[in-house]
């Protein structure tokens, strides 16, 4: 039984690995750039992984493609453009600022401005507000107070 299982183990096709040792470029500077680029590209068939993390076949192909382009002398931007031209902007983990995406990037800062404005208005209002009058006790509370005082 164990032998059958071990054969099964050896025949297991996929590995759980992202970057394989044989993919690594000799030139450490180029390899470093390749890693940086891969971290920003999404694996097209995975849930939410970059090609650097993914062990899908297409991610491996893309990693090799990135390295090929770099060896051929492309700049980082050219490599990214090359892949975006083929797979669409879906592969960009960091969305561009162009088009409607400005809204995405500006959402935080704009909201902060609005929040700060409202917050400041509130704080100024609190500063100038007249000191609160102590609220009169409700009838219930008056009754309870009497009871306590009697004790």
């Amino acid at each position: 039984m164990i032998r059958v299982l071990l054969i099964f183990l050896l025949l297991w096709p996929a590995t759980l690995w992202a970057v394989q040792p044989d993919e690594v470029l000799e030139n450490p500077v180029l390899e470093e750039r390749a890693r940086e680029i891969s971290k920003g590209l999404r694996c097209p068939v995975c849930q939410n992984e970059s090609i650097d993390e993914s062990h899908a076949n297409i991610a491996k192909d893309l990693r090799l493609l990135v390295r090929d382009r770099l060896v051929d002398g492309d700049t980082d931007q050219e490599v990214v453009d090359f892949i975006v031209a083929r797979y669409g902007e879906f592969v960009l983990l960091k969305p561009t600022i162009g088009g409607s995406n400005w809204l995405l990037w500006a959402a935080g800062p704009l909201m902060l401005l609005v929040a700060m404005g409202v917050g400041l208005m509130y704080l100024r209002g609190r500063e100038k507000a007249p000191a609160a009058q102590e609220e009169a006790l409700s009838p219930d509370e008056v009754a309870r107070l009497k009871e306590i005082l009697k004790e």
Binding site: N48, F90, G99, L104
Partner: protein
């Protein structure tokens, strides 16, 4: 087969499951009663109707607990006549994972969800004796309404008690990634947190119906929020720790939609904790606090919706079913829409009373709330943007970690910078120079720590030094703040230990935040990585450590097969540790997993993963040096501990209705 055995197998065991199903339906009925009667009673001021809430809440909880227990029993005894057990369990699975398999699937996890809703409702009933009767009836009524919605969801779209006409001989096993002690308890904690916020929601809606929010309300709602936040902190930390050691490359946070779904309520709960203090101490920020309480639970529902609908694809989504998604969307629309409309009509009645200057503790807490709420908004926009872009602009795009790191982190940086200053401010009116005075030296010292880190590192990264600076600034700043609170004079140290536990909790939790920031920055800035083919007994160096692969063997585990590497880790010629990275295969589930070997240390982790055998006889080995990583979880632990310390503060014990201990001293005085 004896008669006893026969009755056991064919009569009693199936009956437990049927009784569980029946209990669930009964609980649904009780929840409906508990929604209607106490709310009407509170409106008409009929004490008898209001009094229905307490026994109903208890009954609802008992019935749901029985139902959940019955489902767990089916998993423990591997009752494959239940479809759910067949799909998610296997007879050879270890007992711990049979138990955790109960909630490791959609139906079971929703049952756990509603179990916790009823648990919190029952606790509010048991400990809420000192709440005004109408408020209490309304809180329990609203809590039961949430229960009704989710009981209906379970019974009509995701019934865990569905039977198979022809039970198979064995099951299809639980996703092996989920077969892990860290993950076994990740969902329950997360759910305790999500659902704990339902209490804050119920209190908020009850207060809106009541039309009255005062200091006492702030004091009642805070312990529930605090508890929910503590559970969320633990749940998120467990999940992130699990991702770190299980997924095989040592990432701890991926900005995955589902992670964001748990992070957004965490951020809002943190904001709510702080604004409730202002309500309690200063009777201000009332309507904002109510709104936050509504939104915090709203984000819990959004989180549930994201996970359960599969609208945003994610590794966590095990139920991609549009019908369920629509149902949860309806629940969300009902509760959020209803609560917000109520808010729009009633918020005007909540007038603020406290008067305070622009420089004051109140303003600092407002700033805290602004930063937390806006950062939550950024996470929300980033998470939803792919959907929005596709629906409205016809663009298929992704929003990944690089966006969140850039758009979210600045808020945390500012929050960290302001934290020690804000927490040193006195209430009402402060002079900035006086509040900041004791912090001057700490600031200089923290800058020195950051500068030292910058000078000593090999690269030019700013991230690592910033992390160390923030940690030093926050930790030392909060300690100084606590010491100041002890006052002056010879017995100041004794006084320090007599300070309310809430003060200590504040210090510990804030320090924890600083420490977590340090861990995150350190790991992201200074990680080293090495990928290579290792030959047997040929040592190689990574970041000052020597690594030697001596052997690779194959073994059989209880429900998996494993390939195990034997690796010696040494530094300066001295052996530090033996590491055993594994690759596992779970034949039933047909899934491989990696088990990284990690040498844990406070300064750094050495993280080793083994890959495939290579053509030339060597093995692929991946090694990471991960500096300061453990501080991420130590910091999270401190945050949770700080929350627990605050939770045990005397004023909450009194507020939460420790009746006996309250009455005795009064009589004695």
């Amino acid at each position: 087969m004896s008669l006893d055995e026969f009755t056991g197998r064919f009569i009693l065991r199936p009956m437990i499951t049927e009784l569980g199903h029946f209990a669930l339906i009964l609980a649904f009925m009780v929840a409906i009663v508990q929604t209607i009667i106490p709310l009407v009673g509170a409106h008409k001021k009929w004490p008898a109707w209001m009094a229905v809430a307490e026994p109903a809440a208890t009954a609802q909880f008992m019935l749901t607990a029985f139902s959940f227990g019955a489902l767990m029993w089916a998993f423990i005894v591997s009752d494959f006549s239940l479809q759910l057990v067949t799909l998610n369990s296997h007879s050879s699975k270890p007992m711990l994972y049979k138990i955790s398999g109960t909630w490791g699937n959609h139906e079971g996890s929703m049952l756990l969800w509603v179990l916790i809703v009823t648990l919190f409702g029952a606790m509010a009933a048991w400990f809420g004796n000192n709440l005004p009767p109408t408020l209490r009836a309304r809180v329990l009524g609203v809590q039961a309404a949430i229960g009704v919605a989710f009981f209906a969801f379970i019974l009509f779209t995701s019934n865990p008690f569905v039977r198979l006409a022809v039970p198979p001989f064995d099951g299809q096993d639980l996703n092996p990634l989920l077969q892990d002690p860290g993950l076994a308890f990740h969902p329950p904690f997360l759910y305790l947190g999500y659902v704990g916020l339902s209490m804050a929601f119920s209190f908020a809606v009850a207060a809106l119906i009541e039309g009255r929010v005062d200091a006492a309300w702030g004091r009642w709602v805070r312990p529930w929020t605090l508890a929910a936040w503590v559970f969320l902190t633990i749940g998120i930390a467990l999940g992130s720790w699990w991702a770190y050691y299980e997924l095989g490359w040592g990432g701890f946070w991926f900005w995955d939609p589902v992670e964001n779904a748990s992070f957004m309520p965490w951020l809002l709960a943190a904001a709510l904790l702080h604004s409730a203090i202002v309500v309690e101490k200063r009777e201000s920020l009332k309507s904002w606090t109510i709104l936050l309480a509504i939104l915090a639970f709203g984000f819990s529902l959004i989180g549930t919706f994201i996970v359960r609908s599969g609208l945003l694809t994610s590794v966590h989504a095990f139920a991609n079913d549009p019908e369920r998604g629509v149902f949860i969307l309806m629940i969300m629309g009902f509760f959020m829409g209803g609560a917000l409309i109520l808010f729009a009509f009633r918020a005007g009645a909540m007038e603020a009373r406290g008067v305070f200057g622009i420089v004051s503790r109140e303003s600092a807490l407002v700033a805290n709330n602004l930063l937390l709420a806006v950062s939550c908004f950024v996470v929300f926009v980033g998470t939803m943007w792919p959907l929005v872009a596709e629906m409205f602009f016809d663009r298929k795009l992704s929003v990944g970690p690089p966006f969140f790191n850039m758009a979210f982190s600045p808020f945390m940086l500012v929050l960290g910078l302001l934290l020690p200053i804000g927490s040193a401010m006195p209430w009402k009116r402060a002079r900035i120079s006086r509040a900041v005075k004791p912090l001057r030296y700490v600031f200089v010292l923290a800058l020195a720590v950051g500068g030292l880190a910058y000078a000593m590192q090999s690269g030019r990264s700013l991230l690592g030094p910033i992390g160390l600076f923030l940690a030093a600034w926050i930790v030392m700043g909060t300690i100084i703040d606590l010491i100041q609170r002890g006052g002056r004079g010879p017995d100041r140290w004794a006084r320090l230990f007599r300070l309310p536990r809430a003060d200590w909790g504040k210090m510990v939790a804030h320090a924890g935040l600083g420490i977590t920031m340090m861990g995150v920055c350190g790991l992201m800035a200074w990680q080293q990585e090495d990928i290579r083919v290792a030959q047997f007994n040929e040592p190689f160096d990574v970041g000052g450590y020597t690594i030697t692969l001596t052997e690779v063997n194959q073994y059989e585990g209880p429900n998996f097969l494993t390939t195990m590497g034997y690796i010696t880790l040494a530094k300066d010629g001295r052996e530090i540790a033996q590491l055993r990275p594994e690759k596992r295969i779970y034949p039933v589930a047909q899934m491989p997993t990696t088990e990284a070997a990690i040498d844990y240390d406070l300064a750094r982790d050495v993280y080793v993963v083994i890959g495939d055998e290579q053509a030339n006889g060597g093995w692929a080995v991946r090694t990471y040096i991960k500096p300061l990583t453990n501080w991420i979880w130590i910091g999270s632990g401190l945050m949770a501990l700080g929350g627990l310390l605050s939770l045990s503060d005397r004023r909450f014990r009194v507020a939460a209705g420790a009746r006996k201990s309250r009455q005795v001293p009064v009589a004695a005085e």
